[in-house]
């Protein structure tokens, strides 16, 4: 499993390109999903079990064909999404729609925050640590995919897509971004990492909390496939933050030999809780469309 750093950089580049393609190409299949869902509603209204099953099979094949052209299947766990979104079990759950809209609003905010961060020279420019830069790029792309997944689930639950950021957290982000003005590269990087960490924890804690509230099984499955990814983002940011604060930015690198230089405490700073907390979870309707 050892990877040459240059090879890894190449993989990350490739991944970024693939994910960008996936996002860009996802608009058409997602709109197709909506059309298919409307057709599904007509079939389900008939109450014919055989017709429902036939529709689900046809629907799944169509979605697979559409997503295969975008790279979304291979790159973003698309197989899981196809299975979930094509399932007739996506019945209407009004509370679930609100929960998913809040989730989409958090993802929207995360995407815009990482996009802003990447415009800063010490995150996305020549002054940036290469690992931090790649992480920000990949993570921004992943949040965009999460947002698309939540919004697709909302459509299947007869709700309206949420494309606006969570209103409660927008001022927090704005204030933090304003605070970066005039910061040195070191201070600015720490500020961005701190802000991103806060957002990732809010996202992860919200989704962990949502799991006990959601009624629809497929909505749960989508949320479950995302919550741990946000927790991993938080884990990486905790480690990066600790190394920056400890005055060891040179140790933020992806190399199999780097571990020998890491301080002992770096081995556990990324997972401080045996049970993921939920105290900072967003209220379920905070980002819902009123």
């Amino acid at each position: 499993m050892n990877v040459d750093p240059q090879e890894l950089a190449g993989l990350l580049e490739q991944s970024q390109d693939l994910q960008a393609d996936a996002i860009n190409g996802s608009k058409e299949p997602l709109s197709h999903l909506i059309e298919a869902h409307r057709a599904q509603e007509d079939v389900l209204d008939d109450g014919d079990e055989m017709a429902n099953r036939h529709f689900a099979d046809q629907h799944r094949r169509t979605i697979e064909r559409k997503l295969a052209t975008t790279g979304l299947l291979g790159v973003a766990g698309g197989g899981l999404l196809v299975t979930l979104l094509a399932s007739p079990a996506f019945a209407s759950e009004p509370a679930d729609v609100q929960i998913l809209q809040t989730a989409a609003s958090i993802e929207t905010l995360a995407v815009s925050t990482y996009a802003t961060a990447l415009t800063l020279p010490y995150i996305g420019g020549s002054e940036a640590n290469p690992v931090v830069k790649k992480f920000a790029q990949v993570t921004k792309s992943q949040h965009a995919q999460h947002k698309a997944a939540f919004n697709s689930a909302i459509i299947f639950l007869h709700g309206k897509k949420q494309n606006n950021p969570d209103p409660a957290f927008v001022p927090v982000v704005k204030k933090a971004v304003a605070g970066l003005a005039g910061a040195s590269a070191a201070q600015g990087t720490l500020g961005v990492v701190g802000l991103a960490l806060e957002l990732e924890n809010i996202a992860a804690e919200t989704y962990v909390n949502d799991m006990g509230q959601l009624k629809n099984t497929n909505a749960k499955k989508i949320t479950a496939s995302i919550m741990g990814v946000e927790a991993q983002h938080a884990s990486v940011l905790l480690a990066v933050q600790a190394l920056l604060q400890g005055g060891a930015p040179q140790l933020i690198t992806l190399s199999a030999t780097n571990v020998a230089s890491l301080p002992a405490a770096a081995g556990s700073v990324g997972f401080p809780n045996a049970f993921y907390p939920t105290k900072d979870a967003a209220p379920m309707t905070q980002g819902a469309i009123k």
């Binding site: 005055g247 997972f271 809780n273």
Partner: protein
């Protein structure tokens, strides 16, 4: 002196990170643990209410006692579980068979519904505790060459957290009048034994640990959507991201992108479930 030496730099880093880790651990024990105890208590209450069998006084006291000492159990259980078959020849079918006893003998069979999931989860956590314990033992014995301090801290902390996870699941089982699971997962134990026998250095050990963490995380991910009881779902949901965090740090230790990924190393936005066990 204008620049710090590398040694001083590391010492400063160590002190700073240790302080941060201490703060986070305080938060975990002040906030995280009480919340988990509450969840477990409510779940146990749900299970008692739902059970149709007659509850005699002894069983009730056993359940209440388990809950009353739940806090102690969650933090005090810090021993390698009784690994049925784990330390023996893993390829033997008789060994595998003896490693899969009924719940009345500390196994995972003979249960149904959410309790069966709790037992499976406990056996997975036992397996992780066993594997990390064996790894730490091999490292201490000098069998893995030079072991970086960060790897030691990782293994000890991860083992401790898996012990807490196992205790959480077992407290549910004992509260419902069932037996705590003391065996390691019967399906995976032979594989872990086989792979551990091939571990000769830290990288091999990290690879094995990564496999276990991904299996656990993906199993929880599947079960979090399949469990019926709300508190059971919450328990699985609060553990799954922690296993994924363990995996993220292991990827970092191995010099790979620190997140869920394909076999070729391409980062994934959605955690897969192909490694989930049942």
């Amino acid at each position: 002196m204008r620049f710090r030496t590398r040694k001083n730099q590391i010492e400063t880093t160590e002190a700073e990170i240790s302080r941060m880790t201490g703060d986070l651990e305080d938060l975990h024990h002040d906030v995280g643990m009480p919340a988990m105890h509450e969840t477990l208590a409510v779940w146990a209450e749900d299970l008692r209410g739902a059970t149709s069998r007659a509850t005699d006084r002894r069983t009730f006291l056993l359940g209440a006692g388990a809950l009353a000492v739940g806090g102690a159990a969650l933090v005090a259980v810090n021993r390698t579980p009784g690994v049925a078959g784990a330390a023996t020849n893993s390829s033997s079918s008789s060994s595998a068979s003896s490693a899969n006893p009924p719940n009345t003998r500390g196994g995972i069979t003979g249960l149904s519904g959410d309790l069966a999931v709790a037992a499976l989860a406990a056996s997975l956590e036992n397996l992780a505790v066993y594997a990390y314990g064996a790894g730490i033992g091999a490292a201490t014995a000098g069998k893995l060459g030079t072991v970086p301090p960060a790897v030691v801290t990782f293994a000890e902390t991860a083992k401790s957290q898996h012990t807490e996870h196992a205790a959480a699941w077992n407290s549910i089982l004992t509260a419902a009048g069932k037996h705590a699971v003391t065996v390691t997962d019967p399906k995976l134990t032979p594989t872990v034994n086989q792979k551990f026998a091939q571990v000769t250095n830290v990288t091999d050990l990290a690879d094995l640990a990564l496999l276990l963490e991904n299996v656990a995380a993906q199993t929880y991910q599947v079960q979090a959507s399949a469990l019926k009881g709300t508190k059971a779902i919450e328990t699985a949901a609060t553990i799954q991201p922690v296993e994924m965090q363990h995996a993220a740090i292991l990827y970092f230790v191995l010099g790979e992108y620190p997140g869920t990924q394909t076999a070729k190393g391409t980062p994934l936005a959605f955690n897969p479930t192909s490694l989930a066990t049942s």
